[in-house]
């Protein structure tokens, strides 16, 4: 059983209370360093930072409102080669789900990682957040308003802005972590919830970091249920709309006609971990004659080529593990709905194998396993 407690908030500043808790993890040497988002000096954004000195913990924002990189990737870089000391990472739910998937593909080593998950109200596009701050909406005040809304499960973006599309349809706002910082259902000006895995909880108690008492507020389940239901509804509506637009390959190509083949979606994707992607190899360096043959057969071809195969094959390689973080959307210079495409197709493919990416690190991804007794080709089931 995970242990429950709360962090008392003073002066109505929950971020301070969380900082204090993280600081104590460093001071009591529970971990050697902590990966946590830090507010940029300009105040209009955040960056993941690896903090070793507890005194540098001021200015850290566990509840950062943007996600410039997927920290599953950062965790991969951090842990894959010789991480011999314990490091904590403060992460959003989708980042933890990304880490779970990467661990299955042996791209993250969980041994020395301590995952700290924070309830997620959603994030803004980096450029939107920066604009908001420049328009005079102070970062801390903005976070405060969102935290206040989280008590009732109502997260409202400031007038004229929206959360990232992927966040609005994310039905996994609650992270599964070693340490879980709970915000939904809590009155953040007074306290935030803390749920800690049992063994670690005992260690923290022995080191005098905190004591465990109390239960989560009775309204929390209802609040979380409300958020999940709203987002699921949004997700289904988005899927339906998208499936209405992309009816066949031609309509897909029409919708994606502004794709410039920059591969940014692939670079931003936490699941696309291949060191050398096939789309960057000589396989897609065609000879001049080849282009002419295509143009001859079709009368003319769009340049650069290979839009369809790029998206479909990237999908066939990783869509079973797509966690829907939406960083592909954010990375797309043509603002194409890449995440919606991957999530709406992924939903069906993941269902085929009864697989939920990021659910459990002990599951095996569908592409890495098989059952003898499935997909009978004789009966035409594939």
């Amino acid at each position: 059983m995970a242990k429950q407690t709360v962090l008392k908030v003073s002066e109505g500043r929950p971020e301070k209370a969380i900082q204090g808790f993280l600081k104590s993890l460093l001071e009591k040497e529970v971990v050697e360093a902590i990966l946590v988002p830090k507010g940029l000096p300009s105040g209009d954004g955040f960056a993941q930072t690896l903090i070793h000195d507890p005194e540098k913990m001021d200015g850290m924002c566990a509840l950062s409102l943007t996600m410039p990189v997927q920290s599953a990737k950062v965790a991969s870089h951090l842990s894959i080669k010789n991480l011999n000391k314990k490091v904590a990472a403060v992460l959003k739910a989708c980042e933890i789900r990304g880490i779970v998937e990467l661990a299955k593909f042996l791209q993250v080593k969980l041994d020395n990682l301590l995952l700290i998950g924070v309830d997620c109200p959603g994030t803004f596009e980096v450029s939107d957040y920066s604009k908001m701050v420049q328009e005079g909406k102070e970062g801390e005040k903005l976070a405060g308003e969102i935290l206040t809304g989280m008590e009732r499960g109502e997260t409202v973006a400031p007038q004229g802005y929206t959360f990232r599309p992927a966040c609005r349809m994310c039905e996994y706002p609650i992270p599964k972590a070693d340490i879980h910082i709970k915000l939904f259902g809590y009155k953040a000006e007074e306290e935030v919830g803390l749920e800690i895995e049992e063994k670690l909880g005992k260690e923290l108690e022995e080191k005098g970091l905190l004591s465990f008492s109390g239960n989560e507020p009775s309204s929390r389940n209802e609040v979380v249920g409300k958020v999940v239901a709203e987002r699921t509804k949004k997700r289904d509506a988005v899927f339906q709309e998208f499936r209405g637009i992309v009816k066949d390959l031609q309509s897909f190509l029409d919708r994606f006609s502004t794709c410039i083949r920059c591969h940014n979606c692939m670079v931003a994707c936490p699941i696309c971990y291949c060191k050398e992607c096939v789309f960057k190899t000589a396989v897609f360096e065609h000879e001049g004659d080849q282009f002419l043959r295509w143009a001859d057969r079709k009368g003319g071809i769009r340049m650069p080529t290979d839009t369809l195969i790029f998206h479909l094959i990237r999908m066939s390689h990783m869509v079973t593990s797509c966690i829907g973080c939406g960083l592909c959307d954010s990375a797309c210079p043509s603002r194409l709905p890449v995440a919606t495409l991957f999530r709406s197709v992924g939903e069906k493919i993941q269902k085929m194998f009864n697989y939920v990416p990021g659910r459990d690190v002990n599951e095996v991804p569908p592409v890495a396993t098989f059952k003898e007794d499935e997909l009978k080709i004789e009966s035409g089931s594939i």
């Binding site: 992309v246 009816k247 066949d248 390959l249 031609q250 309509s251 897909f252 190509l253 006609s257 096939v278 396989v283 295509w294 057969r297 079709k298 009368g299 003319g300 071809i301 769009r302 080529t305 290979d306 839009t307 369809l308 195969i309 479909l312 094959i313 999908m315 066939s316 390689h317 869509v319 079973t320 709406s344 197709v345 069906k348 493919i349 085929m352 569908p366 592409v367 396993t369 098989f370 059952k371 003898e372 499935e374 997909l375 080709i377 594939i382």
Partner: protein, 140 residues
């Protein structure tokens, strides 16, 4: 206008289906010359990228031939090929491409007749279906 002759790209595993195709030849089985064979060591070596590239680049159908379940020379390559193809077909279906132009078939080294019959049937099916529309997408 002459009758439409489908073109099939076939990925055949070395140990079973390729040898089966060989047997079809040596035992003088007749089948349509619609097939272009690519010889692989295992059906498990067929990535979806080859299948889709063949379809986009002009094939009307793709045949993947592997060993019967349990007979894979590399133990499990055929099962993996089956999952991979199921994923690709699932994706194509979701994208509204529901035509069944990719066939996975277990054909052993001793089934020369089955190989010839498979190619014959697939050719006839594709003739009915007509040319693959994917190869004409100018902006693919």
């Amino acid at each position: 206008m002459s009758e439409f002759e489908p073109r099939i790209v076939a990925f055949l595993c070395h140990w079973c289906t390729y040898t089966g195709a060989d047997l079809a030849g040596t035992t003088r089985q007749q089948y349509p010359p619609s097939i272009r064979v690519i010889h692989l060591m295992c059906s498990g070596a067929v990535d979806s990228i080859y299948v889709l590239k063949a379809l986009i680049d002009g094939a009307d159908g793709v045949l993947i031939g592997g060993c019967h379940p349990g007979d894979c020379h590399y133990q499990t390559g055929n099962y993996k090929a089956r999952r991979r193809l199921a994923i690709l077909k699932g994706i194509l279906n979701q994208m509204g491409f529901t035509e069944d132009r990719v066939l996975l078939k277990w054909i052993s080294a001793s089934e020369g007749k089955l190989f010839a019959d498979t190619v014959t049937k697939m050719t006839n099916d594709l003739k009915k279906m007509g040319p693959n529309p994917m190869k004409q997408l100018w902006n693919a």
